[in-house]
């Protein structure tokens, strides 16, 4: 496990932002769960099976996180909240150094 962390934020639908220390190399979902971020259910524990770890990425985060693969895209077809072009499953995104200071948006529901 990597020891270094970056600061990332999660913006709730009401606009409130929670900033956390996310370990580089972990999934964004794991970092969120470990830091009590509300609104990320992650029922399948990161197996890309449940689509309850849905988040929205800003343009710059999309550039950093890269593209969803086919499997993730298929799961994204059925998110409980609106699917947008910026939708991703947070369990499929790895925390990297360039994410420092960036903010993810949490959707209004997961199931």
């Amino acid at each position: 496990m990597s020891k270094s962390t970056v600061k990332i934020g999660f913006r709730q639908p009401d606009g409130e932002i929670q900033e956390i220390d996310a370990p580089i190399g972990q999934s964004v979902m794991q970092a969120a769960i470990f830091n009590n971020v509300d609104g990320i259910e992650a029922e399948c524990g990161g197996s890309c099976m449940c689509a309850t770890c849905h988040i929205y990425l800003s343009d710059d985060l999309q550039a950093i996180a890269g593209e969803a693969n086919e499997e993730e895209n298929e799961m994204l077809e059925e998110t409980a909240a609106e699917r947008r072009p910026s939708s991703r499953l947070s369990c499929q995104i790895t925390v990297v150094e360039d994410m420092n200071g960036k903010v993810f948006d949490v959707p209004d529901c997961q199931s």
Binding site: M1, Q30, I33, N36, G45, C48, M49, E71, E77
Partner: protein, 415 residues
């Protein structure tokens, strides 16, 4: 003062009851009793990523250790409930050795409402030698740790049972380069759950990965050899040896507390469609609870995370007077080798199966029909089918068979 809700068992079902109660604004005390140490964790990775060394125990926590305190949920870790006395609505507790002493765990506890989420235990191999060291089960973190350590030192393993746990352990062990033999009493893998066409597909993949199978064979006895390895006698007289034996022959429901408290039980604690037991002050959820699935008149248990979580949400909704979520068709997943398996629906009663996609390329779904109604869908590397199938199967939707066989037509169109 209100005694609030007390939850026995802090795994997928128990933790979700507490979390959902909080989410729905429940403002009375919540006590969550975790019969293990230290923090409630996820079970599915125990046979997959955790065993393979891809994630450690910290990566398995269901919620962060600080979650419970932050949400004002009293988490008693390392505390087991030994008895329920339904008349005066109290529990007797015992603290495990090694539990944090500072916790000052009480020996009795009162409840307004009790939730049993006591789950199941792995079945022990019922033969001479079935309890030797080096004959291991896999259900909880302690067992997973023991298995992981033993696996690192072993070169070969014999697995009793070609169910999900056995096959997932086989896949993980092959990935680690171990010699693997799976011993199965039936003539194929997952025989209770799948038709032969799916069993055969899964078997072939495992064989290609190097796993050997002994079908129609049961273990009569296990003997410890001088070098610490195990000699395994099979029905029919064959002997095989392995450094380690892993037992994956099913789970035994943990309904002892409920039974002793006089709750109606069958194979598990019987609950209604809102997960209420025969006692109006006690609910049950998850692997320990038996209810009637949609369209069925029989009580049955579903051993899956989805079932545990959905039932937990139903209980929390009832207790807070919120709209109760409707029951959906049960779904389950398993990861083995390059097979990402997703299943929805229970009945193995069907008139017809439609194959959608390519079995050769390991990208297909099997659609099970009763008449024109879709009653179950098993998908391999076809998440897109699975997600649509959850709704189609819940509603037992009529879908033309030639349309579903055509991979160009999205199942979603029929939702």
């Amino acid at each position: 003062m209100s005694r609030g809700v007390v939850i026995v068992g802090a795994s997928h079902a128990g933790v979700q009851v507490a979390a959902s109660l909080k989410d729905l604004g429940y403002d009375q005390p919540i006590t969550l009793i975790h019969g293990e140490l230290p923090t409630p964790y996820q079970r599915p990775p125990l046979s997959k990523a955790f065993l393979a060394g891809q994630t450690d125990a910290d990566g398995l926590v269901l919620r962060s250790p600080s979650y419970y305190g932050d949400k004002a949920i009293t988490l008693l870790s390392g505390v087991r409930v030994t008895a329920i006395s339904p008349e005066d609505k109290t529990l007797s507790l015992e603290t495990l050795p090694g539990a944090p002493a500072a916790q000052n765990a009480p020996t009795t506890l009162s409840y307004d409402h009790l939730v049993l989420a006591t789950g199941a235990d792995a079945r022990t191999l019922p033969v001479p030698g079935g309890d030797l060291p080096g004959v291991l089960k896999l259900r909880d973190m302690a067992e997973a740790n023991a298995l992981k350590t033993a696996l690192a030192a072993a070169e070969s393993l014999a697995i009793a049972g070609a169910g999900f746990i056995g096959l997932e352990v086989a896949a993980t062990a092959r990935k680690l380069g171990k010699t693997v033999t799976v011993i199965e009493a039936q003539d194929r893998v997952l025989a209770r759950l799948f038709p032969p066409i799916m069993s055969d597909f899964i078997t072939r993949r495992h064989q290609e990965a190097g796993t050997r199978f002994r079908f129609n064979a049961t273990i009569d006895q296990v003997i410890e050899m001088e070098n610490g390895g195990k000699q395994i006698s099979l029905s029919g007289g064959d002997q095989i040896t392995a450094d380690l034996v892993v037992v994956g022959i099913g789970a035994e429901v943990n309904d002892t507390l409920g039974r002793a408290a006089g709750l109606k039980c069958g194979n598990g604690i019987l609950v209604d469609e809102t997960c209420l037991t025969s006692n109006p002050d006690i609910s049950a959820a998850g692997d320990c609870a038996a209810w009637k699935l949609l369209g069925s008149s029989r009580y049955s248990r579903t051993e899956s995370v989805q079932n545990a979580v959905d039932q937990a949400k139903i209980i929390a909704a009832r207790l807070t007077g919120t709209e109760i979520p409707v029951q959906v068709a049960p779904w389950f997943w398993s990861d083995q080798l390059d097979i990402k398996l997703q299943m929805v629906g229970d009945a193995l009663e069907f008139d017809d199966i439609v194959i959608r996609g390519s079995m050769e390329e390991a990208k297909f779904s099997l659609l099970y029909y009763q008449g024109d109604a879709l009653v179950r869908v098993d998908s391999v590397n076809r998440a897109i089918d699975h997600i649509a199938a959850r709704k189609l199967v819940t509603n037992r939707t009529s879908v033309p068979k030639d349309a579903t066989a055509d991979i160009g037509v999205k199942l979603k169109n029929f939702v």
